[in-house]
């Protein structure tokens, strides 16, 4: 039995989600610590994306509790409130604002007042410009800052979206399949980028690509049929017979 302690950032306690009788999450329990980077793997339908939906408020669990920080119950909040609390999410399919420039995408993502009565009159401040310059450098997008986001390559879109997460300055980043469709070089750069981000933020990465997970070199949680099958280092879980049977062995 896992229990939260002082250092706990995120605590999923016996979370169950059913869709028309199908249990997407089945009494899932998981603890993440402050500053931790966690890789979550599992075959298709294991519940990875549903878990992220529950954490970000898109889906309400039928049973169980989701605690963030000391005593915030995430199951009572909607998406914008959870985002304001400091949980950012990158989608599986890169979702950026295509008609806007890379610069404007970062501008909209920057932490700040989100209310219409503010944005209607808001002007770019030097502070904001400085932060966007920093994000452009981190995500290696400085040269394409004035490009429409829709004109970027697939890999650049993924980085832009990760950069937009950073711009929100969240405590926890949820990153869904960041290297799907990337070249090997891009994959290696993304692993580096995530490690860099992990210096100041907690990160949860959902990924299929085992080489990538190995490159991250962090604690791995294996999901299967909506619950945790195994947990530990990548070497530990790859050696676990249960994991080999349902996932790696195929």
């Amino acid at each position: 039995m896992i229990r939260p302690h002082d250092d706990t950032l995120l605590y999923l306690d016996d979370v169950t989600v059913s869709f028309d009788g199908f249990r997407a999450l089945n009494a899932l329990s998981l603890v993440m610590e402050h500053g931790e980077m966690r890789a979550v793997i599992g075959p298709n339908g294991a519940g990875k994306t549903t878990m992220m939906d529950v954490i970000t408020g898109k889906t309400r669990p039928d049973e169980g509790r989701v605690a963030f920080g000391a005593n915030t119950d995430l199951t009572r909040l909607d998406e914008p409130s959870i985002a304001a609390l400091g949980i950012g999410r990158k989608f599986q399919k890169p979702t950026v604002f295509e008609p806007h420039t890379v610069w404007d995408n970062f501008l909209l993502a920057l932490a700040g007042d989100r209310r219409p009565q503010f944005t209607l009159w808001a002007r770019e401040t030097d502070e904001e410009r400085k932060r966007i310059e920093g994000l452009l450098a981190t995500t290696r997008l400085s040269d394409v800052r004035h490009f429409r986001a829709g004109d970027l390559s697939h890999g650049q879109k993924q980085w832009l979206e990760i950069g937009m997460l950073l711009a929100q300055d969240p405590q926890l980043l949820l990153v869904d399949e960041p290297v799907a469709g990337m070249t090997d070089a891009e994959t290696a750069q993304t692993a580096e980028l995530l490690r860099e981000i992990n210096r100041n933020h907690s990160v949860m990465v959902v990924e299929h690509d085992m080489d990538f997970v190995r490159a991250l070199d962090v604690k791995v949680t294996v999901l299967h049929e909506g619950s945790v099958l195994s947990e530990g280092s990548i070497d530990h879980v790859s050696a676990d017979p249960k994991v080999i049977e349902v996932y790696l062995g195929r």
């Binding site: 914008p80 944005t119 009159w121 394409v144 490009f147 004109d151 650049q156």
Partner: protein, 372 residues
């Protein structure tokens, strides 16, 4: 304010404002100053006709604001236009006073005809111009606020929202047809005599109304481009294309949609208020779903999401309608339908899309990417 002005005015909008201003000044001058014998004298009926087109342009602008920038395809925007029109019509009815056919100093003719003894409470205050002008803004704005608050909060969007807007305008159509609603029923409100004490039939009043309409259109265009080029507008476009993404960034799309929806309804209402004195009548047919759909076609033809295109589309299609319904009345509806289909298939960016496409054929961006 000056910041808002410089920011919102790109070249095409500036050029367009100049054209609207030129037309708004030149036509009335040519109508008033030249003798009727002159070849350049603009007949008064053309002044009113052009004023009507500009009112349609204001409606088109309001449709483009929500459809082009927030992705809300309203098939009921004429309802807001008509509500603004009815508010103005009620004021014009009260202005008639004792000069009506029945000579009743308080009750409009249709109420006397229905044997009503008292003015209904919701007609109170409409004898005051300022109150009526306030209602021009409040009536459509309030309806949009209630409708939008319910719809956007429940995350109704796409085709479902379009159907609801269509139902809204149809319900109002049926309601305003009823005589006991107290808005003139089938015949609506007409036989107006004066506006702000100026005789409505006078050339100078007609010219003044055209100038006022051109000024309002220019201001609405400025305000709309100010909104869509602000950071608010960028969020709005983001909501249009990736609504759930904006939620995960911490924005509340329903607040953004509601604001622009209400602004749009108010702009449409003001357009309707300017329309009624120039055409001389407002009746329930303005609520018909077809009017709203026509407004959507104007926007599609001119170029969705360009503001200027909406204005252009409204004027051009309406001018075509005037010509065709006169020359070949049975052809008009087919022509309108064909126009919509052709534009959707061949000119998805509308007229403005074609103009802009010619202007800048940029090299494809993929070629400029750094090689790995």
């Amino acid at each position: 304010m000056s910041y808002l002005l410089t920011r919102s005015l790109d070249k095409s909008a500036t050029a367009f404002l100049l054209i609207v201003a030129a037309v708004g000044i030149a036509l009335p001058l040519l109508n008033l100053l030249l003798p009727e014998s002159s070849a350049f004298q603009v007949p008064t009926y053309l002044i009113s006709l052009f004023g009507k087109y500009l009112c349609y342009a204001i409606l088109a602008l309001s449709v483009d604001l929500v459809w082009g920038f927030a992705g809300i395809l309203s098939l009921g925007h004429a309802a807001f236009f008509a509500l603004g029109g009815y508010a103005m019509g009620m004021y014009l009815m009260r202005q008639i006073g004792g000069r009506g056919v029945y000579g009743n100093p308080v009750l409009p003719d249709f109420m006397v005809f229905l044997n009503w003894q008292h003015l209904p409470w919701y007609w109170y205050g409409f004898d005051h111009a300022l109150f009526a002008l306030l209602m021009v803004v409040v009536a459509p704005g309030l309806l949009a606020l209630v409708f939008g608050w319910l719809a956007f909060r429940s995350r109704v969007s796409g085709v479902y929202l379009s159907i609801m807007t269509q139902a809204l305008t149809y319900a109002l159509l049926l309601a305003f047809f009823r005589n006991d609603m107290g808005f003139g029923g089938n015949n609506g409100l007409t036989d107006f005599k004066e506006i702000f004490s100026f005789p409505l039939q006078a050339d100078a009043t007609r010219d003044g109304l055209l100038v006022a309409t051109a000024v309002v259109l220019a201001l609405a265009l400025l305000a709309a481009s100010g909104i869509v080029t602000s950071r608010f507008g960028k969020v709005l476009i983001a909501v249009r294309d990736a609504e759930s993404r904006t939620r995960f960034l911490g924005y509340r799309p329903e607040h953004y949609k509601l604001f622009v929806w209400v602004v749009s309804a108010i702009v449409a209402g003001i357009g309707g208020a300017l329309y009624v004195p120039q055409v001389g009548i407002i009746n329930p047919s303005e609520f018909s779903p077809a009017s709203s759909i026509e407004a959507v076609i104007w926007v599609a033809v001119g170029g969705r999401g360009t503001l200027v295109g909406a204005v252009l589309g409204a004027v051009l299609v309406s001018a075509g309608k005037t010509y065709l319904t006169g020359a070949l009345p049975e052809v008009w509806l087919f022509a309108l339908g064909a126009l919509f289909i052709l534009v959707t298939i061949f000119l998805p960016g509308g007229i403005i899309g074609v103009l802009r496409g010619r202007q800048r054929r940029r090299p494809t961006v993929a070629a400029a990417e750094p090689a790995e």
